[in-house]
Amino acid sequence: MLKLPVSKMDELFSLINSERTLYMPLEKNSEICFDKWSSDASIRLDKLNTVKSPKDFFFPASENIAAFKTKGKEIIMDDIRSEIEPFALFGVRACDAESFNLLDLIFLNDKDFVDTFYESRRQNGIIITTACNEPEETCFCNVFNIDAANPGGDISTWIIDDTLYWNSLTKKGSGLTEKIKKMFEQADESEIADHQAKISGVINKLPFKDLSLDGFTGEALIEKFSSNQWEEICHTCLSCGTCTFICPTCHCYDIQDFDTGKEIHRIKCWDSCMYYDFTLMAHGNPRTSLLERFRQRYMHKLVYFPENNDGAYACVGCGRCVQKCPISMNIVKVAKALKYEGMK
């Protein structure tokens, strides 16, 4: 483990930035989000969760995957893939770092169909996490065995009073550390133990810390699916895409064509299962009602995803949906309402 006085952080950022483009939570236009660091940027590492999760660095809201020109009956396909420049994300929280592991399960695990767009971004990005000094009341990452005091990623950091502690976790992380090592002093892990205990103390007081997802397994699939609780909890959902788009683990996408008049761009973009046209086909729609679409989102996160991925839930407890849902419906309320369905 290494350490550095907080006063030298700007110097550190500038050094990292000279190695690879550095992104971190910045305040811009009264919004705090991950953006390109510059020496005069307003850094907001105190903000726990940015409204938009940093998933768009790997899985962007929209990207061109192909371009076509048509000439009579002929189709000409253009190579439009660009190289991804190496980059680093600083200040990623433990929950968001875990969300990248979940996205990996979708986009990288199936060796026959690796999403190469995602893959190249993932290979070129280094994730530097920061422990959460002040968890919010909406946090429940502990439910998914994520430790806010001991975040993952390639490198984890802790900002304790005037000192930044730095610890590489992966080969990629050590590679970067090696290049900027001269800035740091050696530190001992015991130096952060008290701070970690303090964070754990706060986590123990969080309102959702005891949320239990026992029983959300494939065995209870039909019971959970056919529960009559759905009607009650979905009734006032606006079927907007807020929860989907701010969620770090939501990964459904759409493929659309845009005709620019000169060529056709094939765009892969975020989509939400809350939208009516998500499953709309020429001959009809298997999910016509709000209930079916609402149920799909939560069943996917809490039942289907774990069934396909060795029990991993598609949620990291970041609390964004708890904070931002226009009608205050969220995954916690859903999990509580369906807890007993299908339980033996």
Binding site: N29, S30, E31, L48, V51, K52, A61, S62, E134, P135, E136, E137, T138, V202, K205, L206, P207, F208, E232, H235, T236, L238, S239, C240, G241, T242, T244, F245, I246, D254, Q256, F258, I267, C269, W270, D271, S272, Y275, Y276, D277, V322, K324, P326, I327, S328, M329, N330, V332, K333, K336
Partner: protein
């Protein structure tokens, strides 16, 4: 406020039990102090979870749309500003009055939890309303805050304490006009800016849009069965904003489609996860309508005709605007 909550619950109980209504549309207690969610209650027992406090900000009239197709009557609780929306829906025939039992309830302004967070308050556990001040218990110690400082944007420009439509009133004496001043002041300020500055302002704001459609879906005036933005044949049905143009277009058209019907309920601004002041776009239309065609408040009466479905022989020529003469 607690007294009013009690009276509201009692009324709901009474009407549900007697069978006058088959469901009650109100707010349901959440897990946190501020996350009361709109909900339908169908049995008297369920009413236990009903709440009414400073966080019950949703405009419930949105949920009445198309309820007329169901063979039941709904009891709905409406704050003064929500009744404008109901009136507007009634005048557009999107809600049938016979299917609704509207109880007007008092409101002394609703709290914006985001404003509290923006003040740096973290880990909010309890909030106690004590007159004009709020006592906040957090994971990191206690805080106090002046209520007025964290009221929702829409409450800062309150339309008044009078209900426009109701079958009954509860606690209307509670209402207090919280308006701080001219609701057009921000629009005026923007109008005074140069075109370049205004462009810059809106680029900064609209570039934050994640196209979640919350502003559209929450709007009680957005009532089309199929939105142009969901129609794959309209050519504008993008799922996300790929370019600046799509950001601008979405918000111009969203506001335009409710111009003359927007009662300025401010839900669009409230629900925007990115904090874009969307209401300003709607208010610009309201201001123009007032200026060009005479003062108009959507939803004030059921009979009123939207200015954009109407005309006058002497209306202002648009070129007066495009050539830059005579407005502002």
């Amino acid at each position: 406020m607690q007294r009013v909550e009690g009276e509201i619950k009692q009324k709901a109980h009474e009407l549900l039990k007697s069978g006058v209504v088959s469901s009650v549309l109100a707010w349901k207690k959440g897990d946190l102090v501020y996350d009361a969610a709109p909900a339908f209650f169908k049995s008297p027992n369920a009413l236990e979870d009903m709440v009414y406090n400073g966080f019950c900000c949703s405009n419930l009239s949105k949920y009445l749309i198309e309820k007329d197709s169901e063979n039941e009557k709904v009891l709905v609780f409406l704050k003064p500003c929500d009744t404008y929306s109901l009136n507007q829906l009634l005048s557009n025939h999107r809600v049938i009055k016979d299917k609704i039992y509207a109880v007007g309830i008092g409101c002394d302004g609703k709290i914006d939890i985001e404003k509290l967070r923006a003040k740096g308050v973290k880990g909010i556990l309890e909030i106690e309303e004590d007159g004009e001040s709020l006592k906040i218990q957090t994971l990191y110690g206690d805080e106090t805050c002046v209520r007025r400082d964290i009221l929702l944007e829409k409450c800062l420009n309150c339309k008044g304490k009078d209900h426009m439509v109701y079958d009954e009133l509860i606690g209307s004496e509670l209402s207090e006009e919280t308006a701080l001043g001219d609701k057009f002041s921000q629009v005026d300020e923007l109008e005074k800016m140069s075109s370049d500055d205004r462009f810059e302002f809106w680029r900064c704001e609209l570039s934050k849009c994640i196209r979640c459609n919350a502003c559209r879906n929450v709007c009680p005036s957005c009532t089309c069965r199929k939105c142009v933005f969901d129609n794959p044949h309209s050519g504008v049905n993008a799922k996300v904003n790929v370019t600046d143009f799509e950001e601008n277009m979405f918000h111009i058209i969203r506001a335009f489609h409710v111009a003359g019907r927007c009662s300025d309920c401010g839900e669009c601004t409230r629900v925007c996860p990115q904090g874009i002041p969307l209401q300003l776009l709607n208010r610009k239309f309201i201001k123009d309508i007032n200026n060009f065609y005479g003062d108009f408040q959507a939803g004030e009466t059921v009979e009123s005709r939207s200015p954009l479905f109407d005309y006058n022989f002497e209306d202002i020529e648009p070129n007066v605007i495009s050539k830059g003469r005579g407005i502002n």
